[in-house]
């Protein structure tokens, strides 16, 4: 019989380490026996999730389809074609494209959910511009104002998802991205208005963002400060 030198408990023959403290069993008289009968088998019982995700996806589809069809039918019966209901149907399709793929896709990925969602948003804005018969704002304003934040959000989520950034580096990345985005928005707005494309007011937002990001990055490099913050603020 072997005892854990750390905990003082006797260990079963099947234990290579103490299950309580992970201390390795070193007993020259009775070395660990790989063939010792284990108290529990290795086979895992697969646990099926209680929530049927595909069912939820189907349910959301039905809930969204019902008002879309109703509005379309009323509008068509009155006007003979789709007029105002196109806005409602487009908005419902937009909601569907952001929610349902999460439940329907078997292998969920960031690009599989996020990119179709952004494309749906661009399509909806194009639909509005087309219905209003005014495409002048779509290319210079709508397209960059959707694509720029989408690209930054996608980049940050991908970095976090792949664990390339963690801890306080995440708020630092968010602050840098927010500062840069504000500058880019000002440039786009000025360019669309036909003015000089030079940043002015957005610099007042960029500088504190960068300063705070620097603080976050400094904290991220100091493990002791991080531990203290985690200890004081953990939920």
């Amino acid at each position: 019989m072997s005892y854990c030198v750390h905990c003082g408990v006797e260990l079963d023959k099947s234990e290579k380490r103490c299950p309580l403290c992970q201390t390795e069993v070193i007993n020259p008289r009775e070395p660990f026996d790989e063939k010792a009968v284990r108290p529990y088998p290795r086979r895992l019982d697969p646990i099926t999730r209680q929530i049927n995700r595909r069912f939820i996806g189907s349910l959301i589809t039905i809930v969204l389809a019902f008002p879309a069809l109703l509005c379309g039918a009323i509008d068509f019966s009155q006007a003979g074609r789709l007029t105002w209901s196109a806005y409602v149907i487009g908005a419902l399709i937009l909601v569907w494209s952001w929610t349902v793929p999460y439940y329907l896709l078997r292998r969920r990925s960031l690009s599989g959910i996020f990119i179709p969602g952004v494309l749906a948003l661009l399509s909806y804005l194009f639909l509005i511009a087309w219905l209003q018969q005014d495409l002048s704002w779509y290319l210079p304003l709508a397209l960059p104002l959707v694509l720029m934040p989408a690209a930054l959000i996608f980049l940050i989520i991908a970095l976090v998802w792949r664990r390339l950034i963690r801890g306080f580096a995440i708020p630092a990345a968010v602050l840098i991205a927010a500062g840069l985005l504000i500058v880019a928005i000002e440039l786009v707005l000025k360019h669309a208005a036909g003015g000089l494309a030079r940043p002015t007011w957005s610099l007042y937002a960029l500088i504190p963002c960068l300063a705070l990001a620097t603080v976050c990055l400094a904290i991220a490099r100091r493990q002791a400060v991080l531990d203290e913050i985690k200890r004081r603020l953990h939920l």
Partner: protein, 433 residues
């Protein structure tokens, strides 16, 4: 003797059982397990035969869970109950496909016969009666006759109505409806194990040193174990960077059959939550043991328990609640459980006590084991059972860290109680490290 009753096709859930289907989640299975570790390897064919012989004696267990408009109910299921192989991560919750089957599983391992029960069906005592009757039937097929009585039913007898009564309804007298208010308790935190895994650490102690230690402190064995666990949880709270002023409480299920002449094998248990208030100052082990001892003596008596029972049964009698549709009831029960249930204690210590085995069975059964399923908020639970002069303490956890288990067993060793530990840890999984 109670007269045999005609076969029923459906059953109402008893008072305690009503909440379990509503609160069941992947990480809160509301399933518990009792196992008999035999001295010889288990013969699966004979175990299946024994189960076929035992099932007619327990018609209240041959049921499946169904949804009504207003309540869940148990519907008689006439499919054969099949045994399953044991697994590394028992206590799986009942899924949609499982819902068409029985609400219990019988598993066999190398030398182990185990039964896993959905808590809506029965409590620890009812499960121990079923397991002992099943093991007796199994041994009878091997030519070992085990006498019925003392928790073993004769499989040839006819089931009685008294065995399947809702004892809560029968014994609550409604003189007082009293439930003490409790604040939110300290909650253990740690790294959650991946979804399918369950950490099982089992400590086996000889019964004599445990009872001697309890006598030394002038407390019962349950009070000693609860006191040790509370003290170690308190130390973890004080040293581990938690909110140090939250009360530390441990939920202790109480078998109410001690106080009422009930033969039911359905749920008939209540809970006491002994604990300490770290905000009042620092506590020594002896102080905590004294608090647990007096709290248990104050709580565990017929009158106090009846008041608790009435508080549980009273909402069930409310007309408004009864006419609410099941989805609304489920939502309400989940909310009530979140506010007043699991958040009010840090962990559970369920002591089934000494489970007697007749000598004929004791010579073939090394020990019995008892295990609780994982909870949603409290990642570590502890279950205790004593048989054949051994106290078996099983921790089941969904947390990777083993601080509470380690501290608990080390304390027992310091009290002079030898502990032998085994686990379900697969060391090869960690690269043989």
């Amino acid at each position: 003797m109670t007269a045999p009753s005609p076969a029923k096709t459906w059953y109402r859930l008893d008072n305690a059982a009503k909440i379990y289907p509503a609160i069941m989640r992947t990480r809160h299975t509301t399933v518990f397990r009792l196992a008999a570790l035999m001295r010889e390897p288990v013969n699966p064919d004979q175990l299946q035969q024994a189960l076929d012989m035992t099932m007619p004696r327990f018609p209240q267990f041959a049921v499946r869970l169904r949804k009504g408009i207003f309540w869940y109910y148990l519907e008689a299921c006439h499919k054969p109950a099949l045994i399953e192989e044991d697994v590394n991560n028992p206590l799986r919750p009942w899924s949609r496909t499982d819902a068409k089957k029985f609400l219990f599983r019988v598993r066999y391992g190398d030398r182990r016969i185990s039964v896993e029960f959905f808590h809506a069906l029965t409590d620890g005592y009812g499960a121990s009666v079923f397991l002992r009757t099943l093991v007796a039937a199994y041994l009878s097929l091997q030519g070992v006759a085990c006498p019925a009585g003392d928790g073993i039913l004769d499989v040839r007898d006819t089931p009685t109505e008294a065995e399947r009564e809702d004892a809560y309804k029968r014994f609550s007298n409604f003189k007082v409806i009293h439930r003490p208010r409790e604040t939110r308790a300290f909650r253990l935190q740690g790294t959650l194990l991946p979804g399918q895994q369950l950490s099982i650490i089992c400590g086996v102690c000889p019964a004599d040193p445990v009872s001697q230690a309890a006598r030394r402190f002038k407390v019962s064995v349950t009070e000693l174990l609860v006191g040790v666990y509370l003290y170690q949880l308190y130390r973890i709270q004080q040293q581990g960077g938690y909110h140090t002023e939250r009360p530390v409480r441990v939920s202790v299920p109480i078998n109410v059959r001690r106080f009422y002449p009930s033969q039911t094998v359905r749920n008939f248990a209540l809970y006491a939550n002994p604990g300490i208030e770290p905000a009042y100052g620092s506590y020594s082990f002896e102080e905590i043991l004294g608090l647990v001892h007096h709290f248990m003596r104050y709580t565990i008596n017929e009158k106090y328990l009846n008041a608790m029972m009435c508080a549980n049964v009273a909402p069930e009698k409310s007309l408004l609640l009864r006419i609410s549709p099941l989805p609304i009831k489920n939502l309400a029960m989940r909310l009530v459980y979140t506010w007043t249930g699991e958040s009010r204690f840090t962990s559970t210590v369920s002591n089934l006590g000494v489970v007697n085995l007749p000598p004929e069975m004791a010579s073939h059964v090394e020990r019995l084991e008892f295990m609780l399923g994982p909870s949603r908020y409290n990642p570590v639970n502890c279950a205790v059972i004593s048989t054949n002069g051994q106290v078996v303490i099983q921790f089941s956890a969904t947390m990777e860290e083993t601080d509470p288990q380690r501290a608990f067993f080390r304390h027992l060793v310091r009290l002079g109680i030898p502990v032998r530990v085994e686990s379900n840890r697969d060391w090869d999984e960690f690269g043989g490290k």
